[in-house]
């Protein structure tokens, strides 16, 4: 087990290097340049060229990459020339916000979707199953900007029960911040419910077909024991894997929700950095997301190994 974890952790390093190289190269292809972004569309090409030379943007890419890498790994994340803000507090602040929102959403999604999925699986092909499957699937396909706007119009504008932005005033305590996050978390729940409940249902159905379940029932085990002791544990395997995969999106991919609710999260930070050629922020942000993504997948795999002894033995 420890060997599995160690090996995966070691593998993260070359992956991160590859990702950082990829981002650096891709941002070369992005239209525009740093000088133009800072000075705006009305500056002359000469002025832009002068600023670019000053910022060292026109040096060869390998040179710049190595310089950046050297700074980055020693902890010097530098300051963005475009926004004049330090990169680390910006990225870490956005990360904190995104984690809070993702956490808020997951705390509700995980128990709810597992519950719905297992219930649907247990009552396969029944009315409850069909109802749960259809409704969760329908909610999944609604784009966040549609559900988000509808929720805002109903709850924030018309009823005025909840705030229209997701960012609590500065200095608010945790409870207030979570209150502000109720509305933006709902579109996320809608989307994730479909995926995770479905996985839980599939896992349940598969397990129920196994002979040992029939043995357990015939043995006389109470139904509750069968479900909690055997079915649940096995149905969790595919479910946990899916959740691990979704974490990456929940932290770094919520551009639409963050835009609509005015929430300064990591997704929006990355998109803005890409649009404005802010390579320092882009690199730092993407690598943070990559690390978290790999860690969450690793955790999911560890949990699966804990749930399923066969996986442990193979490893």
């Amino acid at each position: 087990m420890t060997r599995l974890i160690l090996r995966r952790l070691l593998l993260m390093v070359p992956t991160l290097i590859l990702v950082s190289l990829l981002i650096f190269t891709l941002s070369e292809i992005l239209p525009g340049d740093v000088g133009r972004t800072i000075l705006g569309p009305y500056a002359t090409p000469e002025q832009v060229a002068a600023l670019n030379a000053e910022l060292g943007v026109d040096e060869p890419i390998i040179q710049r990459y190595v310089a950046w890498l050297g700074n980055f790994v020693t902890g010097d994340w530098d300051t963005s020339p475009i926004t004049d803000l330090e990169v680390r507090p910006q990225v870490m602040g956005a990360l904190g916000n995104s984690l809070l929102l993702a956490g808020m959403a997951l705390v509700v999604i995980i128990p709810l979707s597992i519950f719905l999925g297992v219930v649907a699986g247990l009552r396969k092909d029944g009315l409850l199953d069909r109802g749960i499957t259809i409704s969760t699937l329908s909610l999944t396909v609604i784009p966040e900007f549609v559900s988000g706007v509808i929720l805002l119009v109903i709850f924030a504008v018309t009823l005025q029960w909840l705030p229209v932005t997701a960012l609590a005033p500065e200095g608010s305590n945790l409870a207030t911040r979570l209150y502000y996050l109720i509305l933006p978390a709902i579109p996320l729940m809608f989307i994730e419910l479909g995926y995770i409940a479905r996985m839980a249902r599939v896992g349940t159905v598969e397990v129920l077909a196994r002979p040992y379940i029939r043995t357990a029932v015939l043995k006389g085990l109470p139904r509750r024991r069968v479900i909690f002791g055997h079915v649940l544990r096995n149905a969790m395997v595919p479910t946990v894997t899916v959740i691990g995969g979704q974490i990456g999106w929940l932290i770094g991919g919520l551009v639409v929700v963050e835009t609509l609710f005015g929430y300064p999260g990591l997704g929006k930070l990355l998109v803005d950095a890409a649009k404005t050629h802010d390579v320092l922020v882009l690199e730092a942000g993407v690598l943070v997301v990559a690390v978290l993504y790999m860690l969450s997948n690793l955790s999911a795999d560890v949990i699966v190994a804990l749930l399923d002894p066969r996986v442990r033995q193979r490893a």
Binding site: G32, I38, G40, Q47, I82, Q90, L152, V164, L260, G262
Partner: protein
């Protein structure tokens, strides 16, 4: 002739024009304000005109307005900025309106294009229109305690026209004012020695030149670190892409002002979020409300939407260096396909001023009266045939990917089809449109670019239409037009100006470098109990604003 005599002559001239019916009273106010007459002087000019009376104050609300009340924090929503706010290089809405709360200009531009003295108390030009004397307001201090003096103004303008500064102001003042052209006479007087005669010079050092805020003589370059200015508010905290907070300046030179205790600027990331924020009461006003996506605000009983006709435009330019636009008949053919009222209806529900393919919009005083172009497919087809394209022609239009321009491109495409002009729309991102060397917005065969309003047409002409203009997207190069433009800039006599303007406008319309179907009416949604906000869009003066 002495300066005084000159001013008297000019005053007589304006009055004559009104009495002859060649100028409306409102137009007199605008021209007088540009020339340097104070509001009271302009008022007495009006009184001297035959018949009728009119109030000289541009702001007039129909119903009785509650008395000003001190206190309250105003929450303003505006489009977020890309770069950090820097007065010298700023170019987007958020940066500009943020800086305008802390810093001020010599002259402010009202919604109706009249100039209002702010840090300059009065100004006048000599008869050559090359030497302009500005008297500075006394008793003004920067928020760090230092008094405002001529040295600050000289330093500000030398900085702005310095080619190394990277300021957009360079384009507005290029060829007109050079480094060293601004001179201190005494602590309260500054003289601008221009490179060439320019009758409307005050407009180029007004708020219309949005980088021209007056900064202290020893301005170090980092505005966020030390936001020093003469304005009504002090910058408290600026959190990128989130909000900016301001508190009132207790030592503001206008005693008793500002009424508001503080400001909070929020940056909703798109029109939908902004609209929802207004409806939910999260913000009290928007600097600018884009028409698209804000329909709900018009129907909201708690809000009012201010409509200000402006000379902001959407330039549908055709590059004469690219086929098939080298032949002006093709360009004219495109113009004759356009059903302008229909476009205004579709894009803005009728809220716009009709345009006639010339920068001399009907909104300007003394604008030339040319026959209004309208949709005429017969003419368009004939022009195409004459130009050697009897079977039609295929063109590509590249709209700026912002606001309503993509829809405008769609409408153009639909309206050109019946004449046999097949239009392909090439979409690119906003960033891509403005970057590169040459950037697409200055080099594609046909594009649509948004331009913000300017109080005088020459400010458009100088940067767009001359052979050496820096932002000449249609690549128009006509020595005759250049000569007329130089004459127009230098001439003070109204009748001659009108004459030259008519020649220029006729040439523009004939050559059809760009289709200008409309001039944008700016919108701004506000709560009903907010009063006396001066300006709209990138002009925001809250010194007298209050919540009642």
């Amino acid at each position: 002739m002495t300066d005084d005599q000159y001013r008297r002559d000019y005053a007589h001239h304006l009055i004559e024009q009104v009495n002859k019916g060649q100028m409306t009273r409102r137009q007199l106010l605008v021209r007088a304000s540009i020339f340097g007459f104070s509001a009271t002087a302009a008022g007495s000019l009006l009184a001297a005109c035959g018949g009728g009376s009119t109030s000289s104050s541009p702001a007039a609300s129909g119903s009785a307005q509650p008395a000003p009340k001190a206190g309250g924090t105003l929450r303003i929503g505006c489009r977020e900025s890309i770069a950090a706010p820097d007065p010298i290089t700023m170019y987007d809405q958020a940066s500009i309106v943020l800086v305008q709360q802390v810093c001020e200009y010599l002259i402010w531009v009202e919604n109706d294009m009249t100039l209002r003295p702010v840090l300059a108390e009065s100004w006048s030009g000599d008869e050559t229109a090359k030497v302009w004397t500005f008297k500075l307001r006394q008793g003004v201090t920067f928020n760090d305690g230092s008094p405002l003096g001529a040295d600050d103004v000289v330093a500000t303008f030398d900085r702005l026209v310095d080619p190394d500064s990277g300021s957009a102001a360079l384009s507005a003042l290029g060829g007109i004012l050079s480094p060293g052209g601004t001179k201190k006479v005494d602590d309260a007087t500054v003289v601008f020695n221009l490179d060439k005669p320019f009758a409307e010079f005050p407009a180029t050092v007004s708020a219309a030149n949005y980088n021209a805020v007056i900064l202290p003589r020893n301005y170090g370059g980092n505005f966020l670190k030390s936001p020093v200015g003469t304005g009504p508010f002090l910058l408290n905290k600026y959190t990128k892409k989130q909000n900016a907070t301001f508190t009132k300046n207790p030592n503001y030179w206008q005693k008793g002002l500002p009424y508001l205790d503080g400001l909070i600027f929020k940056f909703p990331a798109d029109a939908a979020a902004a609209s929802l924020a207004m409806q939910a009461g999260d913000i009290d006003m928007q600097a600018e409300t884009p028409f698209q996506g804000s329909q709900a605000l018009f129907a909201d009983p708690n809000l009012q939407v201010l409509e200000v006709p402006s000379t902001g435009l959407r330039q549908v330019f055709m590059n004469v260096d690219k086929e098939p636009f080298s032949d002006k008949r093709v360009r004219q053919a495109v113009a004759y396909c356009i059903d302008r009222p229909a476009i205004i209806q579709a894009l803005f529900d009728g809220r716009s001023t009709l345009g006639n393919d010339t920068l001399f919009s009907s909104l300007y005083p003394n604008s030339p009266k040319l026959p209004q172009r309208a949709q005429d497919y017969e003419k368009a087809k004939q022009l195409l045939t004459d130009a050697g394209h009897p079977d039609g022609v295929t063109i590509t239009v590249t709209p700026e990917n912002d606001l309503e321009m993509p829809q405008y491109a769609q409408l153009i495409k639909a309206q050109c089809e019946p004449a046999g002009i097949k239009v392909n729309i090439e979409m690119m991102s906003y960033e891509a449109y403005f970057s590169g060397d040459p950037a697409p917005w200055l080099s594609v065969p046909m594009g649509i670019t948004a331009w913000s309003a300017r109080p005088t047409p020459i400010q458009f002409v100088n940067v767009m239409m001359l052979s050496d203009s820096v932002w000449n997207a249609p690549h128009f190069a006509n020595p005759e037009y250049d000569k007329l433009a130089a004459q127009y800039a230098a001439t003070v006599d109204e009748a001659s100006r009108m004459d030259i303007a008519t020649q220029m406008a006729t040439m523009e319309q004939d050559e059809t470098l760009q289709v200008l179907s409309f001039f944008v009416t700016q919108l701004s949604a506000r709560v009903k109990n907010l009063y006396d906000v001066a300006g709209i869009n990138i002009f925001l003066d809250l010194s007298k604003a209050y919540l009642a």
